[in-house]
């Protein structure tokens, strides 16, 4: 591969030398001589420090421009004296300009140095952080893996425990489930319907409020034939009505026999069952959406957790879960209105439930605050604006909130 017209050079000899040179290098490499073969790690340092240093040096050399007369040694005798005198006069007169200029030069140079030092430190920090990020990424993958495993295990344990409890309690409570206990005996079903009609708000009001969720459902592409929507605790069926009108495939679930009948009369598909039993009967990855308005505040903590677990399991990938409940942040709701329903157990703190859903395997879990008091119910702000504002914040803010999560 080498060529030359130089008659002094013996090419064969040269090629052999090259081969020997290569062999020696390989041997050195084999022995692992450090410093000969350097690791070619790419470095992302956008600065050419050596060039910067060079230019800084030039700046440093010239920072005192105009401060002194040169020694004029290329002149001699009287000429040099005159030249030096002239030089001094020029420098003296020039001080008007040169003094502020020198101050400017040195302050700029100083700030440059500080900046460069800063950048150097930042570069070091960035490099360190990048390395740590890598570690964290690796660990977080491991955590995800463990989390999934844990949820599966906990679900199995809770089913086992329930089974155990059932067997211990014997035949008399064999049919009962936790949800049934919570919602009370069927005998009270008509009463609850009446109560709903009195306190929950008119059917139109409710439909109005629920319409807000439609875009979310559409976005999650739920309601298609193979992505059915399940509304747990469908009650009077306002949500089912919306779904029906929008042409979305939806099914209701309630344990109140009267309400179930009412819905069926209106032509909606409704199951009469408790939430957990029904969900457990469903296969994995079978639903497009699970909605539940004002249900979870009726459930005990472990049931709520089980509900979240089952929801994650049965939802298809990308499926959405919406749980709406009264907002205790609103003082009126938290201290009073919440208790209007005698079957409510306790107000649910928003962030706790956001955390719970996230922890049990939902992703992109968000809180959506809804239904503030109408303006005419707010305190007028004219007289004491600050006070009014703060009170309105406490008394007239969102009355309900929804926790929304997705399955990965």
């Amino acid at each position: 591969m080498l060529e030359t017209k130089n008659s002094e050079i013996d090419l064969a000899d040269l090629l052999e030398k090259v081969a020997i040179e290569l062999k020696m290098q390989q041997k050195k490499q084999g022995r692992g001589q450090k410093g000969v073969f350097r690791e070619d790690l790419p470095i992302n340092d956008p600065f050419t420090w050596s060039q910067l240093k060079e230019t800084m040096k030039v700046a440093e050399l010239n920072v005192n421009a105009g401060a002194e007369v040169t020694s004029m040694l290329h002149y001699r005798g009287i000429v040099r004296k005159i030249a030096r005198l002239l030089g001094k006069v020029t420098v003296f007169l020039g001080r008007v300009i040169t003094i502020p200029q020198r101050n400017f030069n040195s302050s700029i140079l100083h700030s440059l140095r500080i900046t460069l030092d800063g950048i150097r430190d930042m570069n070091r920090t960035t490099a360190r952080l990048e390395r740590e990020m890598e570690h964290i990424k690796e660990k977080s993958q491991l955590v995800d893996y463990l989390k999934t495993g844990l949820i599966t295990q906990e679900r199995r344990v809770s089913i086992l425990l329930e089974e155990l409890r059932r067997q211990v309690n014997g035949a008399e409570s064999g049919q009962e489930t936790l949800v049934q206990e919570l919602s009370g005996p069927n005998i009270l079903d008509p009463l609850y319907l009446a109560f709903e009609n009195q306190f929950r708000g008119t059917r139109e009001e409710i439909i109005d409020r629920l319409m807000e969720y439609l875009p979310l459902i559409r976005e999650a592409r739920a309601g298609a034939e193979d992505r059915e929507i399940l509304d747990i605790g469908c009650g009077r069926g306002e949500w089912l009505e919306i779904m029906n009108d929008e042409g979305l495939v939806a099914k209701g679930l309630d344990i109140n026999h009267v309400l179930v009948q009412d819905c069926r009369d209106k032509g909606f598909k409704v199951e009469e069952n408790d939430a957990l039993s029904y969900l457990r009967s469903l296969p994995d990855n079978s639903l497009g959406a699970i909605t539940s308005f004002h249900l979870i505040e009726h459930l005990e903590f472990d049931t709520r957790v089980a509900l979240f677990d089952e929801s994650v399991r049965v939802l298809k990938s990308g499926g959405i879960a919406i749980f709406e409940t009264p907002n205790p942040r609103n003082l009126l709701v938290g201290s009073c209105n919440f208790w209007s329903d005698p079957t409510h157990l306790r107000p649910l703190y928003p962030e706790t439930h956001q955390f719970l859903m996230e922890y049990r395997g939902f992703c992109k879990v968000e809180l959506l605050f809804l239904h503030p008091h109408e303006d005419d119910q707010r305190l007028p702000e004219e007289e004491a604006p600050e006070l009014a504002f703060r009170l309105n914040e406490l008394l007239s803010c969102a009355r309900d909130y929804a926790i929304i999560g997705y399955k990965v």
Binding site: E3, S71, G77
Partner: protein
């Protein structure tokens, strides 16, 4: 003939010192040859006296026909001088670097100003410049030389008597070396040192004249047989002659002899020291005889009978005693690190080199083992060499011929034929600082003018830096219809129509157009311009009966495009361009012990800097301690440059690859001076000026065989035909950098090749071109 003047700080027959003796001898011998000689010197009597005192009267003195003019010295501040001197001497010799001044903080100016100076001598030089044929300034270091030479620079010859010492790095010394008309060297070693210190810019104005030695007329029989009680013919001794002090390295020799005697206590080989100096050696060591200053006859006797002469000094520009020993057929040993003496001994084969104490002591032993026959063999070779360089007749001959004292006047240049062209202008598309075509146009213009033609350069795009060199082309203004025209064609220009229509005699010089395909991917706009240039070529062909390419490669392209019988007019690449100071910052920066690998060429895809960076990365991984210097214009925002930067970053080469950009000549000078290898991966060179420039700087060229590269390199450099195996290329580059034998072979071939691009070589081809234009 006008007189020749020697300018020297002190002058007299009996002054000690190489320069003083040389001046005395040469002046008198030239006088004997009938040359009018004058000496311009000071009233100070010698180096050893106070330099501000006028010991001798000023005025003219006639020494047997030799006119000596003495001028009063100036007052000086000795303390300031000593301070400056001490400042520079504090720099350890190993830290001295060519091109960076050790006299920092103005001490250099101080050193010169408070040196031995004479304003009246300077005034004389200024006023009487015209009265002299030439001035010979000798030696390099003193005030009257440093300040006087620039006043008569165009007639000044400098005989520096250069040593590798701190003063040689003084900026004012570089100033006179560059400024003088010519340089006389005492020895090839001194010449080499000057080239190392100042680069190839001074290459062609220097001449080794040698230094004569007066061969003793005395018969050996008449020499004394006994010196200081020693019967010379019964003793076996090594001789060391000359001043004895630390700068002459005498103690090294004494220590080495001591070591030798410890190992060989039975030895009878003695060491005799003779010469002036305060220190006394030898009392403590058996076998050493320190004779101090001896009479001339005794010295001759000692020389004629010694086993060998040892000269351990590292600071000699020329050693008379070596020549004297050789003329007595005695071999010599010198310090290997002293260029002047070592080169002489190597060239002559008249002795040995040694550096360390160990080597010197082994040499003692080696000599003791040799018989007289072997010693004589070395001595005879030395004698041969001495006769060539140290015989006065040969030396004076060289002075006379270099100074033009004997020739019957310069040969007349070919003058213009009658009834032919009087004016030949040149037309170039662009004219820019540092551009190869522009430089060529300037050289051609000078050649044309020297032949008596009126000649100007016209250009379409004029670099503001070059306004003094060329004129802006304005629709043919200033170019008469009957004027001759040389059109330099490269990339597409708006000049095509004009040159086609021009009715006068014309010729075209083709500087090559990069094939557009090579750059189309990365620089589509450039590709378009190149295409235009190529298509113009076809248009031009029928209108130019006379044409030439800058290389055979280019001529072939001309032929392919319809030109008939194109000639070759190579680009002129002369070293005088580099007789400028190299950028001191760059010089300091690049001489840090790394192997510097250089490529010079615009940053464009077809020059393949990307391949070079990759190959360099391999080299660095294999060997380390290296730097890649890429000189050549680029725009920050150009994508090719950006991709190169990316490449550099991805290999982590930020500290080792230097993008110098388009640099001024002083910086390019520094880059060449400090580089150890020129490495080209370029896939297209129409000629390749940097290849030749590297040859002038004695940088081995390692280049990919493409386009005009093999033609331009000819026997110079080393070519490679594939660039896929970077490790193999890196290994070959390593050899080029560190295998001295290979390096020397390449460099010596390149020294030969580079001569083909001197103006003298180009001139004949230009004559052919002009003849063609004349029809």
């Amino acid at each position: 003939m006008k007189p020749v003047a020697f300018v020297i700080p002190w002058f007299g027959e009996h002054l000690k010192g190489g320069a003083e003796q040389q001046a005395w001898q040469v002046a008198n011998r030239l006088l004997q040859h009938g040359v009018k000689v004058e000496v311009l010197t000071t009233c100070c009597s010698s180096f050893l006296e106070d330099w501000s005192i006028n010991h001798l009267p000023s005025g003219v003195e006639n020494l047997n026909g030799l006119l000596v003019r003495r001028f009063k010295v100036d007052k000086r501040n000795g303390k300031l001088f000593n301070d400056a001197n001490a400042h520079a001497l504090a720099v350890p010799p190993e830290n001295l670097r060519p091109g960076s001044n050790p006299f920092t903080f103005g001490t250099g100016e101080q050193f010169v100003a408070e040196n031995i100076n004479s304003l009246s001598l300077e005034r004389y030089l200024k006023r009487n410049k015209k009265k002299y044929h030439a001035f010979i300034f000798i030696p390099y270091l003193y005030g009257i030389i440093l300040n006087g030479l620039p006043l008569v620079a165009e007639k000044a010859w400098l005989q520096p008597c250069l040593h590798d010492e701190v003063y040689a790095y003084l900026a004012e010394v570089e100033n006179i070396i560059r400024g003088c008309h010519g340089i006389f060297y005492n020895s090839p070693g001194e010449e080499r040192l000057a080239h190392d210190l100042f680069g190839p810019g001074i290459l062609r104005k220097g001449k080794v004249v040698g230094e004569g030695v007066e061969i003793s007329e005395l018969n050996r029989e008449t020499l004394p047989r006994q010196v200081a009680g020693l019967h010379l013919d019964q003793e076996k001794y090594v001789l060391c002659l000359g001043r004895r002090d630390n700068t002459k390295n005498t103690s090294l020799l004494v220590n080495s002899y001591h070591l030798y005697r410890k190992r060989h206590p039975e030895s009878t080989l003695k060491l005799i020291l003779a010469g002036p100096g305060d220190e006394k050696y030898g009392a403590a060591v058996q076998g050493i005889y320190d004779l101090g200053l001896v009479a001339e006859l005794d010295k001759e006797a000692l020389l004629s009978q010694c086993v060998a002469l040892f000269q351990p000094s590292r600071k000699e520009s020329y050693s008379r005693v070596i020549m004297e020993a050789w003329l007595y057929n005695r071999p010599v040993a010198v310090h290997g690190a002293c260029l002047a003496t070592a080169m002489a001994v190597e060239a002559a084969g008249g002795g040995w080199l040694a550096e360390s104490r160990e080597e010197w002591s082994r040499l003692f032993h080696q000599l003791e083992q040799m018989d007289e026959g072997q010693l004589l063999e070395f001595g005879a070779k030395g004698r041969e060499y001495a006769r060539q360089y140290a015989e006065w007749d040969a030396v004076i001959d060289r002075y006379e011929s270099v100074l033009g004292l004997r020739s019957s006047g310069a040969t007349q240049k070919d003058n213009i034929q009658p009834n032919t062209l009087r004016t030949i202008h040149q037309l170039t598309p662009g004219f820019a600082y540092g551009d190869a075509i522009s430089n060529q146009a300037i050289i051609l213009r000078e050649l044309l003018r020297s032949k008596g033609y009126k000649s100007e350069i016209f250009t379409e795009h004029l670099d503001p830096l070059m306004v003094h060199e060329a004129k802006l082309f304005m629709e043919g203004k200033g170019i008469h219809d009957d004027a001759g025209l040389i059109y330099h064609h490269s990339i597409g220009a708006g000049l095509t129509d004009f040159v086609i229509k021009h009715p006068g005699p014309k010729s075209l010089i083709y500087h090559n157009v990069t094939p557009p395909d090579l750059v189309r991917d990365l620089e589509p706009e450039l590709a378009e311009m190149l295409e235009q240039g190529l298509s113009d070529l076809k248009l031009l062909a029928p209108h130019f009966s006379v044409s030439a390419g800058a290389s055979r490669f280019n001529s072939c392209e001309l032929e392919e495009n319809g030109f008939t019988d194109p000639a070759v007019l190579p680009i002129c690449v002369a070293p005088e361009k580099w007789n400028i100071q190299a950028d001191p910052n760059m010089m300091a920066r690049l001489q840090d012990g790394k192997d510097n690998i250089l490529f010079v060429g615009r940053v464009v895809a077809n020059k393949c800097q990307h391949d070079l960076i990759k190959a360099f990365a391999t080299y660095r991984t294999m060997y380390g301690n290296c730097r890649l210097i890429l000189v050549g214009g680029f725009m920050e925002e150009e994508s090719y440059y950006q991709s190169l930067m990316e490449l550099v970053r991805s290999y982590g080469l930020e500290g080792d690859v230097l993008f110098a950009g388009k640099v001024p000549d002083s910086t390019l000078h520094a880059c060449y001076r400090c580089s150890h290898l020129f490495w080209s991966m370029s896939e297209h060179e129409g000629f390749g000026v940097p290849l030749i420039e590297s040859m002038w700087f004695d940088i081995p060229v390692f280049a990919y065989k493409s386009s005009a590269v093999p033609e331009t390199l000819a026997e110079g450099g080393l070519l490679f035909t594939h660039k896929d195996d970077f490790t193999q290329l890196a290994a070959a580059a390593r050899l080029l950098l560190h295998d001295l034998d290979l390096r020397n072979k390449i460099i010596s071939a390149q020294q030969n090749r580079r001569k083909d691009f001197l103006p003298e070589a180009i001139e004949m081809k230009l004559d052919d071109l002009i003849r063609g234009m004349n029809g």
